[in-house]
């Protein structure tokens, strides 16, 4: 009974999701349900903050600084999605009360993921999250693209879950345990079976974080899904899967890191490079953001590949900054609306600064930040990633990283070019609704003014990795 107290946030989200589901059946007030979901997520954040750090259920479920930070980030991502949902639900034909509830279930799954210290808990969290996401991607039933996105995501996601489960069974079979720490104690480092297990589990997780070569679903799903859901894909699940990846690798195979380091090394380089080149040719801004997120995951994976406290610290800094930048960018995408129709082509941004000077300069600065140009926040993310890489003597990774960042600067600059240098088109609605404003302005100002005093974020990240080093 005492143990239940340690999973209060999860229980709270679960109960509120169930209650809202019943409530939604009887009263068709979608906005109310959405607002209550936001409220319950806020309460969940408060509960997470006040949670004691402990591992429970025979060490299969861990609450520590690391998981708390990830849970807060995930909850923020979910809240942002729900706030975006308020203004866009009718025009995007996703005016369904299931939306907030699915987000809640997905958030619950992700919370389980980042706390999981056991292969089974990990799989349960992952599946709960994924199943909700499959439905969310296809939520706009009348849109061919959305249905395609849902089906594609489902088929590939199911395949990756299969791979993951296959890997889990191998690991269980060769180490005799499902608990991460016990695997670490009992493994035999010469065992080929374990290695196969790691490879399959990593393949499954790489799919979830959309790292190359398991990225193929990302552009299509990003493009097809309604924009708030695309934002959700970019914000929460990747961060959660990254947390899970770190916990899985560091807790169970921390000592045989030489075996998996090169895998991470490869997918990191492949993600950065492929994203930098593939994004150049994109015409749809959501597709471009998909490749951008693949590239950013590549950078974040450098932090994992370093296998050091600096590496993990830089990973956390990077993910936090990535979260905030994406909030601003996706809110801006959501504001590209004219007469109730949304625009997604990059060419639609043409000459935007004439009509929306203030919004445009902020979006342009977000693009510079994504490209990693100082003094914006994105630069500090990259800076710490490279600090970690050089400290672990991964010079090759660092040089590939900076080359990829120069190449990727090109496609971010292309957006700036289209917004500023091209002929203006008709006016958009712009960031004119309160719900968008509360997301757009704070997040973009945070990115722009981050350089004034970045120390707290860095210290906070150092605090959050205490349980690993």
């Amino acid at each position: 009974m005492e143990n239940i107290l340690h999973i209060i946030p999860e229980i709270f989200i679960f109960c509120s999701a169930l209650m809202l589901l019943i409530l939604g059946l009887f009263i068709k007030k979608i906005k109310l349900i959405n607002n209550l979901s936001i409220l319950s997520l806020l309460i969940a954040i408060a509960l997470v903050i006040n949670q004691p750090y402990q591992s429970i259920y025979f060490n299969s479920y861990i609450n520590d600084e690391f998981s708390s930070l990830f849970k807060i980030m995930i909850s923020i991502g979910s809240i942002v999605t729900l706030v975006m949902f308020i203004s866009s639900r009718e025009n995007l034909h996703i005016n369904l009360y299931e939306f907030p509830i699915l987000i809640l279930f997905s958030t619950l799954g992700m919370m389980v993921m980042v706390s999981a210290n056991d292969l089974l808990a990990m799989f349960i969290g992952l599946e709960l999250q994924s199943l909700s996401l499959y439905v969310l991607a296809a939520l706009n039933r009348n849109s061919l693209l959305s249905s395609e996105a849902g089906i594609k995501y489902f088929i590939l996601g199911a395949l990756s879950s299969g791979l993951l489960l296959f890997g889990i069974s191998y690991i269980y079979g060769f180490s005799g345990n499902t608990n991460f720490n016990l695997i670490a104690v009992n493994y035999n480092s010469d065992s080929l079976g374990l290695l196969i297990g790691i490879v399959f589990v990593l393949a499954g997780l790489a799919f979830k974080v959309s790292a190359v070569p398991f990225h193929m679903w990302t552009p299509d799903v990003y493009q097809g899904a309604p924009t708030p859901i695309t934002a959700f894909f970019a914000l929460a699940p990747k961060i959660a899967a990254m947390g899970l990846l770190v916990r899985f690798l560091f807790n169970s195979f921390g000592e045989m890191y030489l075996d998996w380091q090169q895998i991470i090394f490869f997918i990191s380089i492949a993600s950065m490079m492929l994203a930098a080149f593939a994004a150049i040719a994109q015409t749809n801004i959501k597709r471009l953001m998909a490749y951008s997120s693949i590239g950013h995951i590549g950078y974040a994976l450098i932090g994992v590949a370093c296998v050091s406290s600096e590496g993990l610290r830089s990973l956390l800094i990077y993910l936090m900054i990535y979260l905030v930048m994406n909030i601003a960018v996706f809110t801006a995408i959501l504001s590209l609306k004219r007469n109730d129709a949304y625009f997604e082509n990059i060419s639609d941004l043409s000459g935007m600064y004439k009509n929306h000077p203030f919004t445009t300069i902020l979006v342009a600065l977000m693009m510079f930040s994504l490209a990693g140009i100082p003094p914006l926040a994105g630069f500090f993310g990259k800076f710490y990633i490279f600090v970690a890489a050089l400290e672990s003597n991964m010079v090759f990774l660092a040089i590939t990283g900076i080359i990829a960042s120069v190449i990727s600067a090109f496609y971010y600059l292309r957006i700036v070019k289209i917004m500023y240098f091209d002929e203006p088109k008709e006016e958009f609605d712009g960031v004119n609704i309160l719900t968008l404003q509360v997301l757009f302005y704070p997040s973009s100002f945070l990115v722009i003014l981050f350089f004034i005093y970045p120390a707290p974020i860095i210290q906070f990240s150092e605090f959050a990795i205490k349980s690993f080093y």
Partner: protein, 493 residues
């Protein structure tokens, strides 16, 4: 007196101005005039503050002055500002050129005035920051941050091929600078700090020095620019609006020269000595080749841009002689080039505003219609080719003298650059100003307006003053230059 954080004020005042200007509406001529006046006064105030800085600066002291240090990111990376004899003149140059630029764009910028002025003020912040910062990460922040406003200035208000030019400018500079970023990170993890005043006393091993030097070199050689990575400069100059060219030639190129003196020589003396022949060779190739290229240019701005590359060749020559004369000469050459090339671009801007072409062959015989302009232009052309009595002479003379003391052959080749400079400059002048006024559309030309005279007068005074009596300037530079040279020699022996 030193309690006042004067360097932070210099850096933050333009930001304050930006904040103030975002509150001003921009919907009619009156309000855009208000914006221009606000920006002008803010930048002028900044100039006055920098004059105060120059006045309060202790010329005998070779160390960093007006130091400010606050905790910033983590231990080892702090917000550390300070100036010495090397950097202070660049700060004054920057704060002087920005109001001139704003004044020069009063009439030539027709649309999006607010964004333009905001970009300029942001650029000023970054430029001052580069010369003040005594922390490598802070330096990099300002060094790279300046790309954003410059990208917009060229891209939005530039000429026909502005998109190509601004992308080229941005990507060239970025590609060079990221290697410097890696070098800075490497310094941070080996020395545990990026504080410049600490690192000046730190000894890197020789292998480290070579790699780090090359990484810094990659960044600075693109920025200064050295042959063969100079090709972005003519493009950027040609397409940039007049004021953009002025700042680009006047200040942005000097960041790299400053970086060479402060970082390349200061941190990596052994590697600098090792690579000095390379620098000399590249500089001399740059001086001769780009001077020859300048000879055949049809476009005024391109000609001046290529001459900038040649002049920067003298700067790098002087720096890597490791002599007090050479370093002093390079700094004076940079200051002088900052004034003279800025003025030359302004001169081009004057006729461009009237005739909207930069083709040299479209002009001729302007002296008949624009005597004042002809006089002004002549002073700067002469200063550019290094005539004794102008600021251009002092720098070139010192640099050539120092290079003579090192290696006669290099000196002989470098001196041919002076002759070539005279050729292309005077020929440009002859084609534009002298001759009969036969072209029809030139009959409408009118002489300098009062605003343009106000712009040129301080530049003329400075050019002649430094040329005739360079002692006050050299007094400021000398202690710090001596200190650097003695430090380098101390490390080498």
């Amino acid at each position: 007196m030193n309690e006042l954080p004067i360097l932070s004020i210099l850096i933050l005042l333009p930001i304050f101005g930006i904040f103030f200007m975002t509150l001003i509406r921009n919907n009619n001529d009156q309000s855009s005039n208000n914006l221009k006046h606000t920006a002008l006064w803010i930048s002028f105030l900044n100039f006055l503050i920098s004059l105060y800085l120059l006045f309060a600066f202790n010329q005998q002291d070779a160390d960093f002055q007006f130091e400010e240090r606050y905790f910033w990111i983590e231990n080892g990376i702090s917000y550390h500002l300070g100036v010495d004899g090397i950097s202070i003149l660049f700060i004054v140059l920057t704060t002087m050129l920005v109001p001139i630029c704003i004044l020069a764009s009063y009439d030539s910028i027709k649309f999006s005035v607010k964004e333009y002025l905001i970009s300029f003020l942001a650029l000023e912040t970054f430029m001052i920051g580069v010369f003040c910062s005594l922390d490598l990460v802070l330096f990099y922040l300002f060094f790279e941050g300046g790309l954003i406003p410059m990208f917009l200035i060229i891209g939005i208000w530039g000429g026909e091929r502005r998109v190509y030019s601004t992308f080229k400018f941005f990507l060239y500079t970025l590609a060079g600078s990221v290697f410097m970023l890696l070098a800075i990170i490497y310094i941070f993890i080996t020395a545990y700090t990026t504080d410049v005043s600490y690192l000046l006393d730190y000894n890197f091993t020789q292998n480290e020095q070579i790699i780090l030097w090359l990484a810094f070199f990659a960044s600075f050689m693109v920025k200064i620019p050295m042959w063969p990575f100079h090709t972005w400069l003519p493009d950027a100059h040609v397409e940039a609006p007049t004021a953009g060219s002025v700042i680009l030639a006047g200040v942005l190129l000097k960041m790299a020269g400053y970086g060479f003196i402060r970082f390349s020589i200061g941190f990596f003396p052994e590697a600098s000595e090792l690579f000095a022949p390379l620098i000399f060779t590249l500089s001399i190739v740059a001086i001769i080749v780009t001077s020859l290229i300048a000879l055949v240019q049809e476009d005024m701005k391109k000609l001046i841009a290529y001459s900038s590359v040649a002049h920067m060749g003298f700067v790098t020559l002087g720096i890597f002689t490791f002599t007090v004369q050479g370093i002093e000469g390079s700094i004076i050459q940079m200051i002088s080039h900052g004034i003279v090339s800025a003025a030359l671009f302004l001169c081009v801007g004057v006729v461009y505003d009237r005739l909207h072409t930069r083709e040299i062959s479209r002009y001729g015989g302007l002296v008949n219609k624009m005597p004042l302009y002809a006089f002004t232009f002549m002073i700067f052309i002469l200063a550019s080719l290094g005539l004794p009595g102008t600021s251009g002479f002092v720098g070139e003379f010192l640099v050539l003298m120092s290079i003579f003391s090192i290696n006669t052959y290099f000196a002989i080749f470098a001196t041919t650059g002076v002759v070539l400079a005279a050729t292309y400059s005077l020929w440009l002048y002859r084609r534009m100003i002298f001759g009969a006024l036969i072209k029809d559309d030139l009959s409408e030309m009118f002489d300098l307006t009062r605003r343009e005279i106000i712009i040129f007068v301080p530049l003329i005074i400075l050019t002649v003053f430094i040329g005739i009596y360079p002692k006050p300037v050299m007094d400021i530079i000398e202690p710090s230059a001596k200190k650097i040279v003695s430090q380098v020699n101390g490390k080498l022996n």
